[in-house]
């Protein structure tokens, strides 16, 4: 199976992709497909990580809450990958894209693929992503590409609830006991260098303007910083200083953790292709 971003796939409309000066990226054959993969893979991978808590939540009620959130995210991922498959027009459905792409073909940001860690790590990661995702859906529900605007409007409702849940836990853990504070701060410190990737834009973001998908990432980043800064302050936590950041997920360069996660996620579908239950 050929990766969508491979060079030399002979795109029919590659001329519409504006060249980006100074970047030696392989030409993107189908920017809209690529963009939908990025959106979908973020949710699918994060949803899978969240689902790893099923049966392991700190209390029954939280276990159910985390499973709900995981299902919402996997559902969003499924809708987005289905739309991606239709956009690609190569006969791949959401299952083909989820289960039969390998690690370098995944387009999620690295922050979502990191192992679930302790409860504080999961909460902080979810909060950082929810705050971003809500702003992203809010922008996308206004785009003129109707199928995506529809997914965005539905997902926005779900993610607003996720943000309420994770934001609430940020305050509890940060402003809780000495141990919960230490763990939450440690998670924030570890995750911080993965946040910048969420706001990177490249030729794909430019090219999809002509599909009616225009997202002002700089504006989203500034609003995200406000939300995150406010909650972190109220949680008596400290924002880490800006430093080196890690990225590359949008172009298929991942941490060592994604491959292991995909192996587990894909084993059944790959062992029994086409199986129904």
């Amino acid at each position: 199976m050929k990766g969508p971003a491979n060079a030399g796939t002979g795109p029919a409309h590659a001329g519409t992709v504006p060249p980006v000066a100074g970047k030696r990226e392989a030409e993107i054959a189908n920017p809209l497909f690529e963009y939908l993969l990025r959106l979908g893979d973020d949710r699918l991978v994060l949803g899978h990580r969240m689902s790893e808590w099923c049966g392991h939540g700190p209390i029954l009620e939280e276990d159910i809450a985390m499973a709900n959130i995981a299902l919402d995210l996997v559902g969003q991922g499924s809708s987005l990958l289905k739309l991606a498959g239709e956009t690609e027009g190569a006969g791949r459905d959401e299952d083909a894209l989820a289960y039969f792409r390998s690690e370098p073909e995944y387009r999620n940001a690295q922050i979502v693929e990191l192992p679930k860690g302790d409860f504080a790590f999961t909460v902080v990661r979810q909060f950082l992503f929810d705050a971003y995702s809500v702003l992203q859906w809010d922008a996308l529900q206004q785009c003129t590409f109707a199928p995506l605007a529809g997914i965005a409007a539905k997902a926005l409702k779900e993610d607003r609830y996720h943000l309420r849940h994770s934001g609430d836990w940020m305050l509890r853990l940060g402003d809780g006991t000495g141990e919960s504070h230490t763990r939450a701060q440690s998670a924030l410190n570890d995750l911080w260098r993965f946040t910048a990737e969420l706001f990177e834009s490249d030729a794909v973001d430019e090219a999809i303007h002509e599909n009616g998908v225009v997202v002002d990432l700089a504006a989203i980043q500034s609003r995200w910083q406000q939300t995150v800064g406010d909650v972190v302050r109220r949680a008596t936590l400290t924002l880490p200083a800006a430093g080196a950041s890690s990225s590359g997920g949008r172009r298929g360069r991942h941490t060592e953790f994604l491959g292991h996660m995909l192996a587990e996620m894909q084993i059944v579908a790959r062992s029994h292709p086409g199986a129904k239950w």
Binding site: I59, L60, E61, E62, I64, A65, N68, Y161, R164, H165, D168, R172
Partner: protein, 94 residues
């Protein structure tokens, strides 16, 4: 054994506008906001409710099992309290 869990809250769900809130069950939570979220996740995640009421279980004043006799038994032998002696006009469903 002492209950080491978080405080208990009773959850009431309203199935539709105008319908009564009915007791659905209970959840553990540290405070009202968390109780509301837990109740939403446990009792309203499949679209069962349009509204939730949450009450601290400690605020419920319940009759004691020992009250059952004096409270409820006398109702049974006072047939005149049950309006079942009236003839119902045809066409009226009871």
């Amino acid at each position: 054994m002492a209950d080491t869990q978080l405080p208990l809250w009773e959850v009431f769900t309203q199935a539709g506008h105008g319908a009564p809130h009915e007791h659905a069950g209970s959840v553990h939570a540290a405070d009202a906001e968390q109780a509301m979220q837990n109740a939403r996740d446990v009792y309203a995640r499949r679209g069962e409710a349009v509204s939730l009421w949450i009450v601290p279980s400690s605020a419920i004043i319940a009759s004691a099992p020992g009250d059952a006799g004096p409270f409820f038994d006398p109702g049974n032998d006072k047939a005149y309290r049950h309006p079942q002696f009236y003839k119902v006009p045809r066409g009226v469903k009871v």
